[in-house]
Every structure is written in structure tokens, then in C-alpha cells.
């Protein structure tokens, strides 16, 4: 069973929700979890919830990096921060992957400091799953979008590498033979979107390893035309937050409608099962977190406001990624590219 290091002090509700999530994972799975953080704080939460001690160990450290802190400064000054210690555990071979809901910048920097980037990869990318329309029975209701925040602007080579990394991840995790790759752009034509996107389009179209389906426009992101969507971090982050925001507004609007009129309330009750399914589909906690791809080791970055369920699922995703050896798949794909 893989061993997963979890940054217990990172996140809006740390260590409470992080420890609770890990406790759930310890009871439900055989995954070995190493909680990294203040031992006394972790233990005080652990004793209040059902857990399996056989699957949990604690790596004590004194510092933690807050969500609002400047990542560069914090990484430089807090040598014993939980995210840094967690990353070190992975590089020392005492854990196979890292999970953190902490400061994203600090996460990326800590991993850059400790992990080696796969040979040939120029920049790492955060890949996130999002719900999409299912075209046929058995189709995965989730698609992958990368990058969603590790970068701001990218060059064509980097976007092609993102496509290769997303392709490898979808092949291993979603078990797709030939994932359909789309490039997020403002039009279908290959020349749209400026020089970088046009060049990326040309290279992806000529790439023998990839099943490139062309440009994807914003209105088709959720229709399921592509299994992996490639974009710059700035755009990807905005798309992801937009999807989450729309889902939240939808949920709020329906509950408000139910409050106003009895007839609407009855209607919503009749639609209850369908609405629950939609809510489940758009519930980020089900997907755990987003892998940061491009390192030789796996790291799963969770939402800062992750609850216990999200952390539990992130631990499971990390273990699955380790078992399926995603970094090796990416490395092999990059070797093919060179």
C-alpha cells in the first residue's frame, strides 16, 4: 500500500478538517498516511473522531505557512514548515506522494525545491477535474483541465507538454485508451487566439501520440467534446472558478425559489433526486484535489476550503496515482516527444 504524506497544517480549516479526512481514509482504506504538522494539535483532533491508528503516523514539525502569506518569503524563512517537511518525506522515500490544501504558491515552491522535474518538462501544471455532459452511457462524467494555476502565461512548447501530461494522467487514472485532447481558445479555427495558441494548435495537430480534436470554445468546455483541455494557468483558473461559481449560484437560486412559493417547493421536491445528482456532480469534494503534474513525485493540491470528505478523496486519488505510476507514464511520453 502506498504511503501518503498529508500537510496537516495547510488549508482554511486546518488541522481540523485535514485530520478528520485522513481519519476517514484510515478507516476506509489500507493507505498509510503520514500527517505532517504540530503533533499535539493533530492528536487532539484525532482522538475525537473514529480512526485506525495502524494506518496513521505523525511527523511533527513546528511551522506552518498561512494561506495569506507570501509563498517565497515563507518558504525561505520557515524551514520547518509542514509543506516543506512533507515534501522532504517524499524525496527521502518515507512517503510516495504528498497531499496539501495549503497555500498554492507555497505548495508549488516547496515541491520545486524538493522534487525533481521530469526530464524534458519545462514547467509543471495543476490539473483539475470538472463535471461535463455525458455523451454516451459509461462515459466518464469528469474531464481534465490543465493548467489551472501553476503558471500564468505559457509558450507553445509548454502547452504541448501540458497536453502530453494530461494525456498520460487520463490514460492512467480515467483508463481512457486515447483521451481526446482539446485546446481552449476563442474560436474553432486553428489560426485563432494569437501566435502562441496558433503554434500550439499546429504542433498538437501534427503530434502522433495525441488524439487532438482541435480548439474548444468556452461554451463547449462542459459539453464533453474533449477529455483533456489544455490552457494557460490564468485562463484555466478562471474557467474552473466560473464553473464552481455557476454551480453555487444554481444551488442558491433553487433553494431561494423553494422558499418563495409552495408550488415551486413541491416542484423542487419532485425534482429532488435529479437535483441531488447535479449537486453531487458539481461537488468538488468528490474529486479530492488537483494533481500538480510534471514532477517525478505525485502531489495532490486540494482546495483551501476543503472539508474532510475532500481530503479523504484526495488521499485516495494520490494513492491511485502512485499505484498507477503516473509520473513514469508522463516521463515516457516526454521521451517520445524528444
Amino acid at each position: 500500500m502506498p504511503t501518503i504524506a498529508i500537510d496537516a497544517m495547510g488549508g482554511d480549516f486546518a488541522p481540523e478538517t485535514i485530520v478528520r479526512g485522513v481519519a476517514q481514509a484510515s478507516v476506509e482504506t489500507e493507505i498509510q498516511c503520514v500527517l505532517v504538522g504540530d503533533e499535539a494539535a493533530i492528536q487532539s483532533v484525532l482522538e475525537r473522531v473514529p480512526y485506525n491508528p495502524e494506518h496513521i503516523s505523525i511527523a511533527h514539525c513546528r511551522d506552518a505557512i498561512g494561506m495569506e502569506e507570501d509563498p517565497r518569503e515563507a518558504i525561505r524563512t520557515k524551514r520547518d514548515a509542514s509543506i516543506l517537511v512533507g515534501a522532504r518525506l517524499v524525496t527521502e522515500g518515507r512517503a510516495d506522494a504528498l497531499v496539501s490544501a495549503g497555500n498554492t504558491g507555497a505548495c508549488v515552491l516547496a515541491c520545486s525545491k524538493s522534487f525533481r522535474i521530469i526530464k524534458g518538462i519545462r514547467r509543471t501544471a495543476i490539473a483539475s477535474v470538472y463535471p461535463r455532459q455525458v455523451g454516451h452511457p459509461g462515459q466518464d462524467p469528469l474531464a481534465l483541465i490543465l493548467d489551472v494555476g501553476a503558471t500564468v502565461r505559457c509558450e507553445a512548447t509548454e502547452l504541448v507538454q501540458f497536453a502530453l501530461m494530461g494525456n498520460a494522467y487520463a490514460r492512467r487514472i480515467s483508463k481512457l485508451e486515447a483521451p481526446r485532447i482539446g485546446l481552449l481558445n476563442m474560436g474553432r479555427e486553428g489560426t485563432k487566439g494569437g501566435d502562441v495558441l496558433a503554434e500550439t494548435h499546429r504542433r498538437l495537430q501534427n503530434h502522433s501520440q495525441l488524439n487532438f480534436v482541435g480548439n474548444i470554445e468556452g461554451n463547449h468546455v462542459a459539453t464533453g467534446e474533449a477529455d483533456v483541455i489544455v490552457c494557460e494557468g490564468l485562463i484555466g483558473n478562471m474557467v474552473l472558478k466560473l464553473v464552481e461559481g455557476v454551480a453555487e449560484v444554481f444551488a442558491n437560486a433553487t433553494s431561494q425559489a423553494a422558499r418563495h412559493r409552495l408550488r415551486w417547493r413541491v416542484g423542487l421536491m419532485l425534482l429532488g433526486k435529479a437535483l441531488r445528482q447535479i449537486r453531487e456532480l458539481t461537488d468538488y469534494t468528490r474529486y479530492g484535489g488537483a494533481p500538480i503534474l510534471g514532477f517525478e513525485n505525485m502531489i495532490i493540491k486540494c482546495h483551501g476550503r476543503s472539508n474532510a470528505d475532500a481530503i479523504r478523496n484526495a488521499v485516495k486519488v494520490a494513492a491511485k496515482a502512485v499505484r498507477d505510476d503516473v509520473p513514469r507514464e508522463i516521463a515516457e511520453a516526454v521521451v517520445g516527444m524528444r
Binding site: 504511503t3 478507516v27 498509510q32 503533533e39 492528536q43 482522538e47 475525537r48 473522531v49 473514529p50 480512526y51 485506525n52 491508528p53 495502524e54 494506518h55 496513521i56 503516523s57 505523525i58
Partner: protein, 365 residues
């Protein structure tokens, strides 16, 4: 951190020699992995053959070690089983114990049929009165200076019943308070009168040393804190064995035997063992020095992969600690709970009210 010389080998130095130790075990969910979560499983229990009954991993090796270890330190151990199951399944249980080659001195069942015939259905599920009565009855048959170590689980009310018994015996609960508590626990008046009579006539003694609770349902350990440091919730029998070793009831070889049985028959790994020990330390039950000694022995016996990592200074420090510990030195660290120092009195009214609430929630589910 301070330490003091005890002058006796580790594991044998903490209990007084020459006394009788009484080990009292609950059966279902403590010794046996009895499944009665559903009505179907409950109905199947009486028809199970001895070889179909499954014991909790490590329990057999642990019980087998109790008598020989006591003998080696010049003491006598008596082992009793206390079960809320009806005597009708006694034959299968006795056969199972014989099959496991577990030595024991007595076994008590609850006469459920008696209550069924009288229509006292509440008594079928009520365990506080039954167990308290039987523990007191058993105490009457033992010498006044006998030590007791009790084993239960987190399914019913073992921890609170055993604690009430310990405090009744030590006269920390007087008869009037006991009457009130039995009433609160909705113990049948006839059973309650019997318990009170036994409590009034038992020789006072602070005899209960430890109460182990097998966390079969993974109840959060914090729930047991209010019962004091005497109660040790454990997640597996390796943890229980480690605590019994630290208390001086079994030797290191017995702890290794329990660990080995878990590894060989229950799929435990080195990580599981190390994590289990560390968990006991973090909860304040096991001293770090005891953890180091046990880990060292497990490494020596090939159950752990490697010696603890660290630099030369750390390795040297560990070796010195292990050496001194084996010679009988004890580290007293702040944060380790001492079972002999019972702090604030237990608020049994609150504990029983909580237990009742939890039972109602389970019933509603």
C-alpha cells in the same frame, strides 16, 4: 524528564510480587469476533460450531501468555470469562476455548432464557447490572489483595461497568450512590438489590489495576477519557500487550508473540505495529522509553524492518535508553498517564446519561 531506579528488569518491575492477578475477559467482540449487527447474524450465533467462531487477532497468544508470565515473577494468574450470551451456547464456547488452547479458571453466561420466560425483555439487553453483579460475585471468591485487570469492548457499556465496579470495590462509590446509578442505568430492581448486597459485603480494596477496551467499533478514544487513566482503549491486541508489558504483567517475548501472530495471521505490517505503539504514546498511555524497548525487541526478532533512523548521537542515545530501561530505569515523562493516580472522581451520572443517549441514537438508526 526525570528517572528513577527500580532495580528490577523491565516489564516485571511495576506490580508487586506474590499476589494473585485476576484477568476477567468479556467474550463477544473482545475475545470472539461475534457478528450480531443484523438480526440474521444474531440468529446464526447459537448454531455456530466452535470451529466457525473467529477470535479477535492476537487475543489467543495474549491470554496464553498471562499465566506463564505471572508464574515467572512468582505470582498466580486466574483467568475468567464473562459473557452476556446465554448458557445454551456455552458448549460451543468452551469447545472453542479448548480448540484455541486457552487456559481459564471460570466462565459465566447470562441466563437470558430466565428473563425471556418472565417477560423481562429489557433485562435481555441490560448489561450493567449483570456484569457488575458477576464481577462482585467473583471478587467474593478471590483473596482480598488480588489485583484485577479487566477486558471489554466498546459495543455496550463495558468501560463504564468495569469502572463502576473498580470504584465500588475501592469504596469511591458508596452504596447510596451505587443505588442511584443502578437506577439511572435502568437495572432491574431485583438485580440491583443483588448487586447492592454483594457490594455491601465485599472486602474494600483498590484492586482494579487496568481496564482495557477493545475499540471494535472504533469509538473515538476521547470518549473514555472521563473514566480516568485506568481505562485504556486499544485498537488491537498488540497495543494491549504493550500496555500489559509496561505494567509488568507480561514479558517482552509475549509481546513479540502477539505481534508475530498479527503479522502472520492478520496481515499486519511493520508500519502497523510501529504506528500502533506510537498511537499509545501520543495518547499518553505508554511511555516513550517502553515504546523504544518494545521496538528494539521487535527489530531484534525480525518483525520490524530497521532500527530507528537518525544520526550517530541519536542512535547512541537510543542504545543508552534501551540499555538503562532493560536494567530497570524508568523515565517519568510529563504527559504519560499513571493508572495508579486516579485523579478527579468520575461523574457516572453524566457518563450513564451519555451512554443512554448514544444507545437511543443507535436504536433510532
Amino acid at each position: 524528564m526525570s528517572f528513577r531506579f527500580r532495580g528490577r528488569p523491565s516489564g516485571a518491575g511495576r506490580t508487586q510480587q506474590g499476589r494473585l492477578v485476576v484477568y476477567c475477559w468479556d467474550l463477544d467482540k473482545t475475545y470472539l469476533r461475534t457478528e450480531f449487527d443484523t438480526v440474521g447474524q444474531l440468529l446464526r450465533v447459537p448454531f455456530q460450531r466452535p470451529e466457525d467462531k473467529v477470535e479477535v487477532p492476537g487475543v489467543v497468544e495474549l491470554i496464553r501468555a498471562l499465566k506463564p508470565c505471572a508464574q515467572r515473577t512468582g505470582r498466580t494468574a486466574r483467568i475468567f470469562f464473562l459473557s452476556a450470551s446465554p448458557p445454551q451456547i456455552g458448549r460451543a464456547i468452551r469447545a472453542k476455548l479448548a480448540l484455541d488452547e486457552v487456559p481459564y479458571d471460570g466462565i459465566v453466561f447470562k441466563n437470558q432464557l430466565k428473563y425471556l420466560v418472565r417477560g423481562k425483555f429489557h433485562n435481555l439487553r441490560e448489561q450493567v447490572g449483570f456484569k457488575l453483579g458477576e464481577l462482585l460475585r467473583n471478587r467474593h471468591a478471590q483473596p482480598a489483595d488480588a489485583e484485577e485487570v479487566l477486558f471489554g469492548d466498546d459495543w455496550e457499556s463495558d468501560a463504564v461497568t468495569y469502572s463502576m465496579y473498580a470504584d465500588t470495590l475501592a469504596r469511591r462509590i458508596d452504596l447510596a450512590a451505587l443505588r442511584r446509578l443502578l437506577d439511572r442505568a435502568r437495572v432491574d430492581p431485583k438485580v440491583a438489590e443483588e448487586v447492592l448486597t454483594l457490594a455491601a459485603t465485599v472486602e474494600p480494596a483498590d484492586g482494579v489495576r487496568r481496564i482495557f477496551v477493545n475499540l471494535e467499533r472504533r469509538t473515538p478514544p476521547l470518549s473514555f477519557r472521563r473514566l480516568g487513566p485506568r481505562v485504556v482503549p486499544t485498537f488491537n491486541y498488540f497495543q494491549t500487550a504493550a500496555m500489559l508489558h509496561a505494567d509488568g504483567y507480561i514479558d517482552r517475548a509475549a509481546v513479540v508473540r502477539v505481534a508475530r501472530s498479527l503479522v502472520e495471521r492478520a496481515g499486519y505490517t511493520a508500519d502497523h505495529l510501529v504506528n500502533s505503539l506510537a498511537d499509545l504514546c501520543r495518547r499518553g498511555h505508554l511511555a516513550r522509553a517502553d515504546e523504544i524497548v518494545i521496538r528494539h525487541r521487535l527489530v531484534r526478532d525480525g518483525l520490524l524492518r530497521a532500527v530507528p533512523k537518525g544520526g550517530t548521537v541519536q542512535r547512541l542515545r537510543t542504545r543508552v535508553k534501551v540499555g538503562l530501561r532493560v536494567l530497570g530505569w524508568r523515565w517519568r515523562r510529563r504527559g504519560v498517564l499513571d493508572a495508579s493516580s486516579i485523579g478527579a472522581p468520575v461523574d457516572y451520572d453524566a457518563v450513564l446519561a451519555e451512554l443512554d443517549g448514544a444507545r437511543r441514537v443507535r436504536g433510532a438508526k
